[in-house]
């Protein structure tokens, strides 16, 4: 196969339908950026949930030595813990619970604020300063009053945090943005598919003489379709590249250097999540252009 021919056809094809190709690239760029945003926001929600627990969780802080709560008479005892677990296990609103030790809590704080603040002779906090806790998962986020009132008065309980009050607005915003991005992307992806289809129709029409002769003299189906597939691949890769750039701007300027510095209590997405999102759109982009191309070239270039 003569690659020179394929590449010259590719160059000609891209130039001949320049405006259509630009339209495809721009539509792909915007839709892939939005899909990438959706992927990033999804990871952001997962990351926050891993740190803070899901919306269904209630955290019960247990008394520690020198607790802020005056009702705590020193560190929680084993007997008190057993009593608390009894109450939790017997409550019908509870789906499950887990225990979090001081050390685990300390590790989380270190990860969130950066481990360097806790090293050396003058650490910001030690594991002893943090309380043990139970993380209670609810069956129904609306049914929580029974368990909170049952637990709050128990001996050894310092405080109770209903995570939903803190997290609901954050999760709500992330979720709304995610679905907004993905919903808009769905329309644009559909538009991109139609544009790709039209571009191929135009290109096949513009090259109908060549294609007719190629079929007649016995060029293989792949050979005839190759310039179309290459065009599809090139437009997809340009769209993916632009979208990756826009997402990089979002992650590294919008988040790392902006909200990430202002709102440090939330773990923000960064390079690994960015690479995930780019990987996803790098597969999706070519699929979006190659799939209709394969289908339509079979239709228009049938031997």
């Amino acid at each position: 196969m003569q690659l020179r021919y394929v590449f010259s056809e590719l160059g000609q094809g891209l130039r001949r339908n320049l405006s259509m190709h630009v339209a495809v690239v721009l539509t792909l760029f915007v839709s892939l950026t939005l899909v990438g945003l959706g992927v990033l926001l999804n990871q952001q929600a997962d990351k926050a949930a891993a740190q803070w627990g899901s919306q269904l969780e209630i955290t019960v802080w247990l008394c520690k030595t020198e607790d802020d709560n005056p009702l705590c008479l020193g560190e929680v005892t084993t007997a008190q813990k057993a009593a608390i677990v009894d109450v939790i296990e017997s409550n019908p609103e509870v789906a499950g619970y887990r225990y979090e030790s001081r050390d685990v809590a300390f590790e989380k704080v270190k990860e969130l604020l950066g481990p360097e603040k806790f090293d050396g002779p003058n650490p910001a906090a030690t594991a002893d300063a943090l309380p043990e806790s139970y993380w209670i998962e609810l069956k129904d986020p609306q049914e929580y009053r029974g368990i909170t009132s049952a637990v709050i008065g128990l001996d050894g309980v310092s405080d109770l945090r209903d995570m939903r009050e803190v997290l609901e607005p954050i999760y709500g915003t992330i979720d709304a943005m995610k679905w907004g991005a993905l919903g808009t992307a769905a329309f644009l992806v559909f538009a991109a598919l139609l544009l790709v289809g039209n571009t191929i129709r135009l290109a096949a029409f513009a090259r109908r003489k060549e294609i007719g002769i190629m079929r007649l003299v016995g060029a293989s189906g792949l050979y005839i379709a190759l310039p179309f597939l290459m065009e599809a691949l090139v437009t997809a890769m340009i769209g993916v590249g632009l979208a990756a750039g826009a997402l990089a701007g979002f992650v590294f300027y919008g988040i790392r250097n902006n909200v990430g510095e202002k709102l440090q209590f939330i773990p923000w997405i960064d390079a690994p999540e960015y690479l995930n999102a780019v990987g996803f759109i790098a597969v999706l982009g070519p699929v979006l252009t190659l799939l209709p191309t394969l289908l339509l070239t079979r239709k228009y270039l049938k031997v």
Binding site: Y5, I213, V217, G218
Partner: protein, 230 residues
């Protein structure tokens, strides 16, 4: 080389068959005219040979292959053994004479060295060696048809199919084209030519296959365009 066995072709949505129960055979190196009025089934006959259509009944063998059993991906290989020439030349207007002929070899993956050698040889054969760098619109109709024949023949096909190749040409030019077709036939290539041109058929005195309304009505070894003289 080409064999039709009781071939019937009915296009979808039509009750009338374009070809009905046609059996005919062309040997290697033969020259035959396919005659008949418009709508008699000539084009369908040629389309079946090229496997642009498949028979609804009977069998078509081309170059030893039964074409209704041939997988689609093998069709290009079959077509490389068949050269095709049309009434309207079908040259690429943005390519030179040389490029038009070379195109047929490029797209089936022939090497540059092969192309550099074969294309000038073929242009020489059709008498256009000195016009290799012209564009098609700078050529006369007869010359354009020569380019089309060169393109059809450049891969040295076993079969040359010509659909009204002289339909757009004046009588003198037509005779020149027919001489060229005979020359190609003399290299061993089977030639099947559909035509309306009674003068040419009568002058050549070759085999004549006549179709009327999709039926084979005549297959005469050294025939003329009209009915055979009694």
């Amino acid at each position: 080389m080409i064999r039709f066995e009781k071939v019937t072709k009915t296009y979808p949505g039509q009750d009338h068959s374009a070809l009905a129960d046609v059996s005919v055979e062309l040997d290697k190196g033969e020259f035959a005219f396919l005659v008949g009025s418009s709508g008699s089934g000539k084009s369908t006959f040629l389309r079946l040979v090229l496997r642009e259509a498949r028979p609804t009944g009977g069998r078509v063998y081309v170059a030893g292959k039964e074409i209704n059993r041939l997988a689609s991906w093998k069709v290009p290989r079959l077509r490389r053994q068949i050269g095709t020439v049309f009434q309207d030349f079908r040259l690429l207007p943005n390519k030179t004479v040389h490029e038009n002929v070379a195109f047929a070899l490029q797209v089936i993956g022939k090497s540059k060295t092969h192309i550099r050698q074969t294309v000038p040889e073929t242009l020489d054969l059709v008498g256009l060696a000195n016009k290799a760098d012209r564009m098609p619109d700078e050529l006369s109709g007869g010359e354009q048809q020569r380019v089309a024949i060169a393109r059809a023949f450049v891969n040295r096909p076993m079969i040359l199919i010509a659909d009204e190749p002289t339909g757009n040409l004046d009588p003198q030019t037509s005779i020149d084209i027919m001489k060229l077709m005979e020359r190609i036939n003399s290299t061993g290539t089977t030639v099947l030519m559909a035509t309306h041109d009674a003068g040419i058929v009568d002058a050549m005195g070759k085999r004549v296959i006549e179709l009327v309304d999709g039926q084979l009505v005549r297959d005469q070894a050294e025939g003329g365009y009209g009915l055979p003289a009694i």
